[in-house]
């Protein structure tokens, strides 16, 4: 069978290429500890759907979630937000902007000694409630804060 030798050569080459690809995959951090990106919640067009899709049901209002954000944000493209949870057992912080085209802005999972604090900058299309949900001890808690936006930041 004259075709065997070249056939084998090709298959060995592709086998080696496959092995290399698998090895490269194995060497990359797999981040199995990070939850999968929540497509459905991020795609939601209103905040109630976003909350529900993210698995948040009947969050309890809480004063133990400290939000530091401007009352008036002149530039909606860069709204600084600091969040600190004083709730024991906090392991996830979620941020929503009710009136953004897609209200779910992001989530932060804390583990292995990370303190339940995050500071970041977000975009707001218009004046809206900022809604922070905290998961602590398996229960959801929520705090909201209105931020007035002078120039919206969605088209930026």
């Amino acid at each position: 069978m004259s075709s065997t030798t070249p056939g084998r050569g090709v298959s060995r080459r592709s086998f080696l290429a496959l092995s290399a690809a698998l090895l490269a995959g194995a060497l990359r951090p797999l981040r199995v500890w990070a939850r999968e990106w929540d497509q459905v919640a991020f795609d939601a067009r209103n905040v109630n759907d976003a909350l529900k899709s993210a698995g948040i049901v009947n969050p309890t209002p809480s004063t133990d979630i400290v939000i530091k954000a401007p009352e008036i944000a002149e530039n909606g493209a860069q709204v600084p937000v600091d969040i600190l949870s004083k709730l024991p057992g906090t392991d996830i912080v979620y941020i929503f902007v009710d009136k953004n085209p897609q209200p779910f802005v992001g989530s932060f999972d804390f583990m292995n000694g990370a303190e339940p604090f995050i500071s970041t900058r977000i975009k707001m299309g218009e004046t809206s409630n900022l809604r922070v949900v905290v998961r602590a001890g398996g229960r959801h808690h929520m705090a909201t804060r209105e931020i007035k936006v002078t120039i919206g930041g969605c088209g930026t």
């Binding site: 981040r31 990106w37 709204v79 999972d109 303190e115 995050i118 970041t120 977000i122 975009k123 930026t156």
Partner: protein, 107 residues
């Protein structure tokens, strides 16, 4: 080619205070290119992870509503001088970047 990640770490007692600045356009898909008038395609970081000496400490999921050139500050309890803090992000195109920084002595 991804822009670099800038990290600043401070040690306060046994808490590492980490500030991260990531170069990324974070395009919402709603912005028009001023020259062509065409919408600039959606392009944003979906996940950011942080480690302390290789151990996971923070896992963030983001939408396009995190600001351009994202800034993030977080704190890790139980850190000490010379520990290594790692940051990695992946965007919606599958591009990624990573950086690490050593925890300096408390000052």
């Amino acid at each position: 080619m991804a822009e670099p990640i800038r990290m600043r770490v401070k040690l306060e007692g046994d808490v590492a205070d980490v500030r991260v600045l990531i170069g990324h356009p974070m395009e919402t898909g709603l912005r028009k290119d001023p020259k062509s008038g065409e919408l600039v395609p959606l392009h944003f970081i979906k996940s950011v992870t942080a480690t302390l000496n290789g151990k996971p400490v923070l896992a963030a999921q983001w939408s396009q509503a995190v600001s351009r050139n994202p800034y993030m500050q977080f704190r890790i309890k139980g850190a000490k001088a010379n520990d290594e803090i790692g940051i990695e992000w992946v965007d919606n195109r599958g591009d990624s970047n990573r950086a690490s920084a050593k925890v300096p002595a408390a000052g």
